[in-house]
Amino acid sequence: MTSGQERLLIEEGTEAADDKSAGDAEVSSTERVKWFSLIARLSPERRYRVSQSALDFAVLFVVIQVASIVAGVIWPNSFAYTNGANVLTALEAIPLLGITAIGVGVLMIAGEFDLSVGANFIFASIVMAMLANQGWPVFVAALVALAIGCGIGLLNGLITLWFRIPSLITTLGTTGIWTAATLYVHGAASQTFNVSGAFATLTSGSIGDFPAEMFWMIGLGVFAWAFLQRHRIGNHVFAVGGNARSANATGISVRKAKLIAFGFAGTMAAFAGVLAAARVSTITPGGETDLPLQVIGACVIGGTALMGGSGTVLGMALGAALLYWIEDVLLLLGAPGFYLDAFVGGLIIVAAALYAVTKQRRAS
């Protein structure tokens, strides 16, 4: 009997346990696991449809938030988690990470990476600010920034796919190129970007305590979800990331699906850049160098497969929020911020190692 069949039988066993009457005194360990897992409590038909780990992850996220809020209320002075300024900063910062993470996450599902999102973020927003300061309508300047972001992403894709080089290498190279391009067109000084009117409302306004960025993240997240889970091309993105050869054999254009994902990742990074520039009114060339590592980390925490083929938008956004939470807690506890970088770096290595080990196990 193959291991797959065994697994099926095991699943059938737990299914039978489900049907047992509630009066049964004996509670098997599988049932206890099931009690913990939300997905497992759904009907089998529904269970397979629910995105792998996003829901369980959401539960974990809520638990962490509740614990932090309780701690913040008990020790308001030493752990100012519930402090108004702290909450507001979080609501403004998470979407920037989250929007970029959703773009990179979609690309990771397609089996590729983009390390140039930080350079892209800065370059696109600085060009927008320069154009706006030269008198261009700010909406047009913002659209130019998005087009630049999309173009950077597509170029990453074209180089990667045309020359068949790993995208980690391609985008490591383009990171240098676009960082230099920023200094070339602008110089090393900070660029100011003052917004007003409708543009300011859309990018840095707020409804109640919720900043505009939050709504953009939710809106773009819903868009990405609809694309991935409901659109034909989104299905191709999963297929090429899961097994490019199989996808190709069924007539899917691997290049097209990957190129669209590359373009999407670039556009989202520029979008985050536009929102950040509008919020803080200045752009620092040479900034956002740890953004690529952080967004890949956010995607991995959120259950996106490091080697492609699976992932959820909800997981990516919550992953970004969780990453920010770690940074925030470190800050509140007075620990240096660079601890986060070490954590994210270690996390990615652990995820890759786990993947390699399970793959070797399966092969043997």
């Binding site: 193959t2 089998p44 397979y48 050869r245």
Partner: protein, 251 residues
């Protein structure tokens, strides 16, 4: 023993004097090979006999140096797998061209999604069609839901899903390259039963296999290859299992 199929109608696939040379060695040395509608042909032979090259020619992966191929009486030329798929030929290799991280439904419709407006997928239509396709496929008994991930299926179930997908797309000829090499005995029997059942629906199959005992039960005809040539072709009622073993081992 005869190599000529029934004279009244043209065979589904007819290959004549197909030749393919690699570095001075003829992998296929003027091979003629036919498959009739609703026929299961067992393609046998030792390693290096030319079976894989022949399969690759049939699926359009390899373009032969010379020779002709006709499909339902019409001469055709196949340059890639899309060409052969367009004709109605589906090749199922050992890896069965499935994506493990996707559900059975998504695999069945991979690259051929049922879509509505703006390219959005019709989820319910796809789910219902895949459930309908899987219903009654004995070899995939145990697949509890078409929404299950393919990576959770056994090797036999995966092969069956790949075949079910070909059936759904109304393919006329299945080429199965060593479908049972990684399967346990029971799964092999179930898979062969399934292939046999599909013959009743008029589907033809070419079965490349080492599994003579199981293949003997379902194949209508056997073609044995050796050193790039067809060394024997016979209907099942013309040849016994013992003779087949001899031919295969002799090459």
């Amino acid at each position: 023993m005869t190599n000529s199929p029934s004279k009244e109608r043209s065979p589904l696939l007819a290959m004549r004097d197909v030749r393919k040379v690699y570095g001075g060695v003829a992998a296929l040395d003027n091979v003629s090979f036919d498959v009739d509608t609703g026929e299961i042909v067992g393609l046998l032979g030792d390693n290096g006999a030319g079976k894989s090259t022949l399969v690759n020619v049939m699926s359009g992966v390899i373009v032969p140096d010379s020779g002709s191929i006709s499909w339902q009486g019409q001469p055709v030329s196949m340059r890639n797998r899309t060409d052969s798929a367009d004709l109605g030929i589906e090749t199922i290799f050992q890896d069965s061209a499935l994506v493990g991280s996707m559900s059975v439904t998504r695999n069945i419709f991979m690259g051929r999604e049922i879509t509505g407006r703006f390219g959005f997928m019709k989820q319910r239509a796809m789910r219902e069609a895949s459930a309908e396709t899987l219903r009654g496929v004995v070899a995939i008994r145990g697949v509890k839901s078409p929404e299950q991930l393919v990576s959770k299926l056994s090797g036999g179930q995966r092969q069956a899903v790949a075949i079910a997908r070909a059936v759904y797309y109304k393919r006329k000829l299945l080429i199965l390259d060593e479908p049972t090499s990684a399967l346990a005995a029971r799964a092999t029997a179930a898979l062969f039963d399934y292939i046999g059942a599909l013959r009743e629906q008029g589907l033809s199959s070419v079965l490349v296999t080492h599994d003579l005992y199981d293949a003997y039960k379902i194949c209508d005809r056997f073609v044995v290859m050796g050193r790039g040539q067809v060394v024997m072709s016979a209907r099942r009622d013309e040849v016994g299992l013992d003779d087949l073993f001899k031919f295969v081992s002799r090459g």
